[in-house]
Symmetry: C2
Subunit: 123 residues, 2 copies
DNA sequence: ATATTTGTTATACAGAAATTATAACAAAAT
DNA sequence: ATTTTGTTATAATTTCTGTATAACAAATAT
């Protein structure tokens, strides 16, 4: 899995990292049980500080995507707390859909766009 | 329209403000042509600095939700740049949908959740 | 046994972003 | 003439982000 950081983005590096790892899982590029690089290795690889990677990993653990083990390092371990995930999804969707409504994008179009973006994912 | 700021949120105040105003428009609580409070009035009202409100208004103007007029103050003025709005929506959706996929929420469920959140809006 | 690798924690520093505090300006309204 | 509007400027403070070192405990590898 390739990680690309945009150092000119207004999005923090550890947020970009977290999102890309989640993308990697959703795209089936990495799977449940797979090892992630160690914080030091990934930091070296990208050219950033260890603590920035550690921050991303800590969040991913807290959000139920990985487990951190002192012997095995970071391992993909998906926790399916569906109800919680759905609530968080709704919160995120509200802002996005409010914008869509303001921009005159109708319900049918929104569903079409959703389908389109969903089809970008593999697995 | 009531604006509520969560001072403990990790979301910046001016971002919360922007989102809530967009929500207000989507919910038909405020309409095209309506006046928003002046930067000073709203700042006083919420208990924050004038510049924080000004930042939110400047972004809303830049994103095509309001127009700023020295005589009339801030006025809702929706600019329907649909193509641009759709592209931005897709970008935002990618992260959200990646999370949904990781949490085993399937396509049908996602569409249902979308419909559910859309029905929260009035107008 | 020893050295290495793992996540974890602590501390310190620099830079950027967010927020506040004043202040002043020009244009328009009252 | 006074007030209100957005706008701009400057400075200070606080918080967030990212880096730099360093050390620790547990496990692995040699």
């Amino acid at each position: 899995m390739i990680v690309t950081i945009d150092f000119n983005s207004n999005e923090a590096i550890y947020i970009q990292l977290r999102n890309q790892i989640i993308m990697g899982i959703a795209n089936a590029q990495i799977h449940d049980g797979d090892n992630l690089p160690s914080v030091r290795e990934l930091a070296d690889n990208i050219g950033i500080n260890m603590h920035t990677v550690n921050k991303a990993y800590t969040i991913l653990k807290q959000e139920g995507y990985i487990k951190l083990d002192r012997r095995k390092g970071a391992v993909i371990a998906l926790d399916y707390d569906k109800l919680r995930a759905i609530e968080e999804m709704k919160t995120d969707l509200r802002t996005i859909l409010a914008r869509a409504i303001c921009k005159n994008i109708n319900e049918e179009e929104i569903h079409e766009i959703l389908t389109e973006v969903l089809n970008e994912f593999e697995g």
